[in-house]
Point group: C2
Chain length 303, copies 2
Amino acid sequence: MSKLDPVRLYLTGLQQGITSAIEAVDGSAFLVDTWSKAAHEPLQGQGVTCILENGAVFERAGCGFSHVRGRSLPPSATQHRPELAGAPFEAMGVSLVFHPRNPYLPTVHMNVRMLAAKTHDGMEVCWFGGGMDLTPFYAFEEDAVHFHGVCRTALQPFGDDKYPRFKTWCDEYFYLKHRQEQRGIGGVFFDDFAELGFEPSFDMMRAVGDAFLGAYLPIVERRKATPYTEREREFQLYRRGRYVEFNLVWDRGTHFGLQSGGRTESILLSMPPLVSWSYQRTDPPGSPEDDLTKKFLVRREWV
Amino acid sequence: MSKLDPVRLYLTGLQQGITSAIEAVDGSAFLVDTWSKAAHEPLQGQGVTCILENGAVFERAGCGFSHVRGRSLPPSATQHRPELAGAPFEAMGVSLVFHPRNPYLPTVHMNVRMLAAKTHDGMEVCWFGGGMDLTPFYAFEEDAVHFHGVCRTALQPFGDDKYPRFKTWCDEYFYLKHRQEQRGIGGVFFDDFAELGFEPSFDMMRAVGDAFLGAYLPIVERRKATPYTEREREFQLYRRGRYVEFNLVWDRGTHFGLQSGGRTESILLSMPPLVSWSYQRTDPPGSPEDDLTKKFLVRREWV
């Protein structure tokens, strides 16, 4: 048994737990699509893409597990680790993006992942990464506080520094430079993490994955029946454009995946079901729509 | 008078001519937004962004002129011209993307541009670029033949080789590698062009700009009243997702613009007004929707 087996087992179980819970909330089932990539492709491996479209609560909810092997780490992955340039690697993770229908419900993203590579002298090196972040369309202070509180509590056992570090990392990562806007109210994000050693780093990744439902579902329950009109719906479609812009222009995972021959439909499960663009939309000063980016989607301490 | 003045004059006139013609077809007016970027920003310069949203024929039609100066050519622009690395430059162009409402009308893109830079010993070097390409949602052989025919005729005076070269270049450029799909039925595309000398190269760029209305408007007239149902509309929204994917993931101009501090809303006038994504959409074999990518959006000789 490889030391990666428990990671795989954890990840597939996490995917099952999350999709079951979402099915219970939504009343619709995920489509479960098991795929594999043959050995002659740039990446080989398998995955399970779960997708729920046109649900009662979720307009599009994707949750994917993948486990791929590659002959040679891409340069983007070894900038800070020249000793691993070109090393064979193995990567696995669970990634999800849920786009609710009701504009008062925030979009959410969570990802936990592990990368293992072998150095030239046969040493196996593993790093972990992960995080979750929330993208609301309307400002609810208590939702942001709750979400960040759950993130902080989950990371507490791994040291007082983890939440503040990963919270800042998240704010810096999910930033649309071309708009000078945060994508949402953040959460936590970490990458290339191995500093605690294999087992505790794996535990930390697991803590983030396990915290997801507790961070998000209470917000879903609280907001899912909020009545809304065409006005909020239009604003939601417009703001979803920012999500697309971030993911396709700035997100390293998406870019690397699409350019390196990853499975397009699984990578793009993050795309919203319906999106609009319009030129320089402006909202009345003081309206909730105008306040969103000016007052709510700003870097601040939530807990 | 600089030798760039006639280029600027041509480009502003081209923008006016095209937007007037589109207004006449649509019955709505473009919003004309004149902007400038101050000297302390990474790029300085001015532009005129014309945008028509929610028109009778065009759901979103953007046509922008811009003229910018920069202190130093970005590395991406000097890969093949190391002698110009870091040289001050000037760029101007007209770029348009029109998204019609009727799914039987194709989306169209046209761009003409000029770049001038000064070498260390004070020599001014100019290149031209340009092209136009068509992205249909439903296959009409005669539209593709007409569009390519106009492109070929426009380039004929500049040598027999120009249309075939630029047609191939267009097919290669507007290709979604992650989907293994062409963006549309192509047209022509050229870049870094100076081989004929300044005046004839400028003439060639002008020939492309001047050919645009004749290439596109007859197709608009022919298709704009075609009745359609929710089925065609849904397919159009879905296919527009490919347009977004190409522009945000692969288009060098968009990427360079967004990452280098260009004017976001002017760069993103290429985005469709409304777009959808869905997981692995499949259409009945033999349906027009299924045939589009399999039979129509393939590299072939149209004229």
